[in-house]
C-alpha cells in the first residue's frame, strides 16, 4: 500500500520524514506528489534504503488551463515516475482523462469540478486513474465535509459501473496528517466503501509505479517488443 504526499516545500515535512512515518504506519511506499511550482529536492534511493520503504518520484501538475497543463506534461513526463494533474475544473478534468500520458487525475471533485459518465469512460480508455481524495473527510467538518462525502460517493457509483481505474489517498501536507492504512480502511467502511476498495486504491499507486518504471527503464523497447534470447551482446 502506498500513500501520495505533498513534501516540503509544498507541504510541511520532508520526504524523509514522510518515509519514516509511513514505514512506521505500515505503508510499503510513498509517492511524492508536489505541485509543479514547489518541487522537492530529495535522494529517493538513500531515503528508501534508510527506512526500508519505496520512494516514488512524482509531480502533480497545477495549471490554469489545458494548454499550460499540456506543456507541463511534455516537460515532466520523462523525468517523473508518476504524473498527476491537479483537477477541479471541468476543462482540466476533461483534459486529464483524455491525456494518455497522465497517470492520475487528482481530486476531480474539489471546488466546482464534476465527473460524469463521459469523463469516466474516457478515463477507462486512456488508463487515467481517478483519485478518491480522503483529505476532505479527514480534515473538514460540517457542511463542507458532507459535500465531500457526497461527491466521493457519486464518484464511486460511476467508477464501479464502468470498472474504472482509481487510486485512494489521504493527501497529507505534513507527516502529522498521515494516517495508517487500517485507519483509512476503517474510515472507508464508515463512508460506504469496502476496505478492499480502499486497499486496492492504495495498492494501485504501487502498481502504477512499477509499470512506469518498467516502461521508462532502458530494457523496455516498445509495448509487446522484447529482446530475444538469441541476440548476443557484442
Amino acid at each position: 500500500m502506498y500513500e501520495a504526499v505533498h513534501a516540503h516545500p509544498d507541504g510541511q515535512s520532508t520526504v524523509a520524514r514522510y518515509a519514516k512515518t509511513a514505514a512506521d504506519y505500515g505503508f510499503e511506499g510513498v509517492v511524492v506528489r508536489n505541485h509543479t511550482d514547489s518541487r522537492a529536492a530529495y535522494d529517493a534511493e538513500q531515503i528508501s534504503e534508510t527506512y526500508g520503504i519505496d520512494v516514488v518520484s512524482g509531480l502533480e501538475i497545477r495549471a490554469t488551463d489545458p494548454q499550460e497543463a499540456g506543456g507541463s506534461v511534455g516537460n515532466y513526463r520523462s523525468s517523473q515516475t508518476i504524473l498527476a494533474l491537479h483537477g477541479g475544473t471541468n476543462a482540466l478534468n476533461r483534459f486529464a482523462v483524455e491525456t494518455e500520458k497522465l497517470d492520475v487525475l487528482a481530486h476531480p471533485m474539489t471546488d466546482r469540478g464534476d465527473i460524469n459518465h463521459v469523463l469516466v469512460k474516457a478515463a477507462v480508455e486512456n488508463g487515467v486513474r481517478l483519485e478518491f481524495n480522503l483529505s476532505g473527510v479527514l480534515r473538514k467538518s460540517g457542511g463542507q465535509r458532507v459535500r465531500v462525502i457526497q461527491s466521493l460517493r457519486k464518484l464511486k457509483e460511476i467508477v464501479d459501473y464502468y470498472d474504472a481505474p482509481y487510486v485512494v489517498s489521504a493527501d497529507p501536507t505534513s507527516h502529522l496528517e498521515l494516517r495508517g492504512p487500517r485507519e483509512l480502511c476503517a474510515l472507508g467502511e464508515q463512508l460506504g466503501f469496502s476496505s478492499e476498495f480502499i486497499t486496492d486504491g492504495m495498492t494501485e499507486w504501487g502498481r502504477l509505479a512499477e509499470r512506469n518504471r518498467h516502461v521508462q527503464s532502458e530494457s523496455f523497447i516498445e509495448p509487446g517488443v522484447e529482446r530475444g534470447r538469441y541476440e548476443e551482446e557484442s
Binding site: 516540503h8 520532508t14 524523509a16 520524514r17 519514516k20 534508510t50 502529522l176 496528517e177 485507519e183 464508515q190
Partner: protein, 161 residues
C-alpha cells in the same frame, strides 16, 4: 448502586494510541476526550457514538509526542478507529494520530504497544535548506523551527551546526 453481575458487565477493548504534534504544544486529557467525542459524533452520529462509547483512560502528552489508551465497546473498534483518524487538531494544534494496537486489558495494551518511543528531545542548531535554524531533535527525527511554522525532517535532511 450494586454493580452488575459479571455476565452483564460490558465487554471493552482498549485502543493504544500514539499522538504527535509540533514542539511546545500542550494537550490535556480533557481536550483529547472532547475531540474524541466530537469526532465520533461527527462521523458516527449520536447512536454510533453511544454504541462505541469512547472514553480516554490513560493520557500522557509531553512536548511533542504522547500516548493514550481509549476504551471502546467490544465490536465497535473499527468505527472508533475511523473516528480517531478524523481528529486532525486538538485545541488548534495539528496532531498525528495512530492506533498501534488493540487489547482486551489496559495492562496488555500498555505492555505490548506503549512506551516504545524515546521521550528525550533536545534543542540544537542545525543547517536546514542552507540556513541555520533551531531544531528539536528526538532520536533521528527533527522538527525544524522556520520563521512562522515548523518543518518535519529527519537526520538525512539537516547537518548539525
Amino acid at each position: 448502586m450494586k454493580h452488575l453481575p459479571k455476565h452483564l458487565q460490558p465487554r471493552w477493548r482498549y485502543l493504544a494510541v500514539e499522538l504527535e504534534s509540533w514542539p511546545d504544544t500542550s494537550i490535556s486529557r480533557r481536550d483529547f476526550q472532547r475531540e474524541c467525542w466530537y469526532a465520533a459524533q461527527n462521523l458516527l452520529g449520536d447512536p454510533g457514538s453511544a454504541r462505541a462509547d469512547m472514553t480516554v483512560i490513560r493520557f500522557e502528552f509531553t512536548g511533542k509526542t504522547g500516548e493514550a489508551i481509549v476504551r471502546v465497546r467490544r465490536g465497535e473498534t473499527e468505527p472508533a478507529r475511523a473516528a480517531l483518524s478524523c481528529i486532525d487538531e486538538i485545541d488548534g494544534a495539528p496532531v498525528g494520530i495512530y492506533v498501534c494496537g488493540i487489547s482486551g486489558t489496559i495492562r496488555a495494551a500498555e505492555e505490548n504497544y506503549l512506551g516504545r518511543r524515546g521521550q528525550d528531545s533536545e534543542e540544537r542548531n542545525v543547517v536546514f535548506g542552507n540556513e541555520e535554524r533551531v531544531a528539536v531533535l528526538r532520536e533521528c527525527v527533527a522538527d525544524v523551527r522556520l520563521d512562522e511554522a515548523f518543518a518535519g525532517a529527519t537526520d538525512l535532511d539537516y547537518d548539525l551546526a
